[in-house]
Amino acid sequence: MSTRIYIPADTLALALGADELARTITDEARARGEDIKIIRNGSRGLCWAEPLLEVQTDTGRMAYGPVGANDVAGLFDADFLHGGAHEKSLGLVDDIPYLKTQTRQIFKTCGLYAPDDIDAYAAHGGFAGLRAALALDAQRIIDEIEVAGLRGRGGAAFPASIKWRTVLSAKAPRKYVVCNADEGDSGTFADRLIMEGDPFLLIEGMVIAGLGTGADTGIIYVRSEYPLAADILNAAITAAKDANWLGKNIQKSGKSFEIEVFVGGGSYVCGEETALLESLEGKPGIVRAKPPVPALHGLYGKPTLINNVITLCAAPGILAQGGAHHKALGSPDSAGTMPFQLSGDVKYGGIYEAPFGLSLRTLIEDIGGGTRSGKPIKAVQIGGPLGAYLPPALFDTKLAYEAMTAIGAGVGHGGIIVFNEDTDMRAQARYAFAFCAHESCGKCTPCRIGAVRGAELLAKDAPDMALVEDLCAVMADGSACAMGSMTPIPVRTAMTHFADDFAPKDAAQ
């Protein structure tokens, strides 16, 4: 039998030369008369080891990484086809501490097989949640989500069951499930990795959401920066329909659900749920006033459930294992696991999925290994461009909704970016304003004008910091959505925790 070799084909692995690696291995195997079969799998989320090559051996899947085309001859010489030792050896993939110490619920099967291999997905427990949901009525499905204590993973952490129940109880001829796959936050890539690596999980989650809310139409709003994710999702949708896990009369249940992929237009604010709906309707992504909430008055005025990719991907596990299992992980207010995403100047960047409650320090230092540059850490930003900048003195804070709120921060979509000592925090604060100015949908004056003024002020040698603070106060109070109201968070936390960087430039010389 041919030896199975796994080489990821997600966007990061491709950017790091995975295609060339696969070609080189194919050529080398042919030259050496070795019988191999290359499987292009999804990513395991161990981004630091990409391209991560795995070989199926008698003892399990042996990992090598990061591997480049120029390592190939040496790997064959070291008999990697039988797990031979090589300087890039990482041992059995399941024993790599970075992976082994995780509690994977969302990323459980990501990277085990090719993303279009529906049989492999099913063989690894896929569709068990949907199978369970098909046997329940909608209320019971939502009960399970409620017991699980699942909160939205897109940023606002709103209890999922409340939204689901609102949509279910709304009377309308048509309802929608919209998956928010706009993943605009810098430092986040969990949605991308799931869509590119385990797309059937998202499809399964959306069908469950459809059963739970009485909706028969799903739309995945994918940002245009993720073209590969859109392609993989479209292929998976076709495969799921062919296997009757999607489409009409799913598994002879009498229930139907369709999913369509919609590609965004390169706007961060379109990740905000009402702007996203406008965008889906083909209009500029101008934020709508709330109420009415989308759950009652959403896409084309119809009741619409909007959830993040990871929120929806939690549903299959919850239905398969029961809500109590999910609730038992994490802390009372922060139930379940979060696929934290480590990036920036960090040695071991990637997905680290764990129950809420580990400390920022554990994640950054023990798991992330500190900076890649070797320079001391100055700050981390947690929760995307609208998230707080935190100094090392606060690294003992727990990664949980309540603990982060207590220090004026938020978990957001779980992205944590590490900045080294060379970082000028005033430049970071200025960027927060500039990004807001660039992305503002223009509806509110404090956001549209305030952000421009803020960026101008912080560009001065001796900015009027009282004026900056005034601006922040007006933006926080006078903006209709978090773009304007939360831009002051990175600005103020940078000002509070790194005051030295805001001293007048000439005085500092």
Binding site: R192, S267, L280, G285
Partner: protein, 154 residues
């Protein structure tokens, strides 16, 4: 990508209308086909989607992906977002601007290259990230960028 062509433009707009898709879907189709939205597309877009000139123009203006200026034959999109900043994106962008004489959003006079900003490509563990002629690139540095620029056919 092909050169602007009125007939194909009208066909794409009709096709989107026939499928019942919204205005932005037609804008996407035009940009995918020609790289930009020509002035001459405004009238058929207004007609096809029963929108005013202002509505069509504001939809184009709102989205970063849509532009009414023809792009260069090559494109470099440099990520400006925080994780890439932490890996040196600011200095790299400054270098790219100095080397090409372009500011983000500008196209060189000979039409060879357009420099763009982009905000996160989901490659945040390996910044600075970029899209070069649509291809994702990770761990970009000055040398790799210079080599790429030197290799561009005029």
């Amino acid at each position: 990508m092909t050169r602007w062509n009125e007939e194909k433009c009208r066909a794409l707009i009709e096709e989107t209308c026939a499928k019942g898709q919204p205005l932005t879907a037609a804008l996407r189709a035009l940009v995918d086909a020609f790289g930009y939205i020509d002035d001459a597309a405004l009238a058929p877009l207004m007609q096809g989607f029963a929108r005013s000139r202002a509505e069509v123009r504001s939809a184009i203006a709102y989205y970063d992906d849509f532009s009414m200026r023809p792009p260069g034959r090559h494109s470099i999109r440099l990520c400006q977002a925080e994780a890439c900043q932490a890996a040196g994106a600011r200095a790299l962008t400054a270098h790219a601007c100095a080397k090409t004489g372009l500011q983000p959003g500008q196209t060189s006079a000979d039409g060879a290259l357009t420099l763009h900003n982009v905000y996160c490509l989901g490659l945040c563990t390996h910044g600075p990230a970029a899209l070069i002629d649509g291809k994702p690139v990770a761990e970009l540095d000055e040398d790799k960028l210079d080599a790429h620029l030197a290799g561009l056919e005029p």
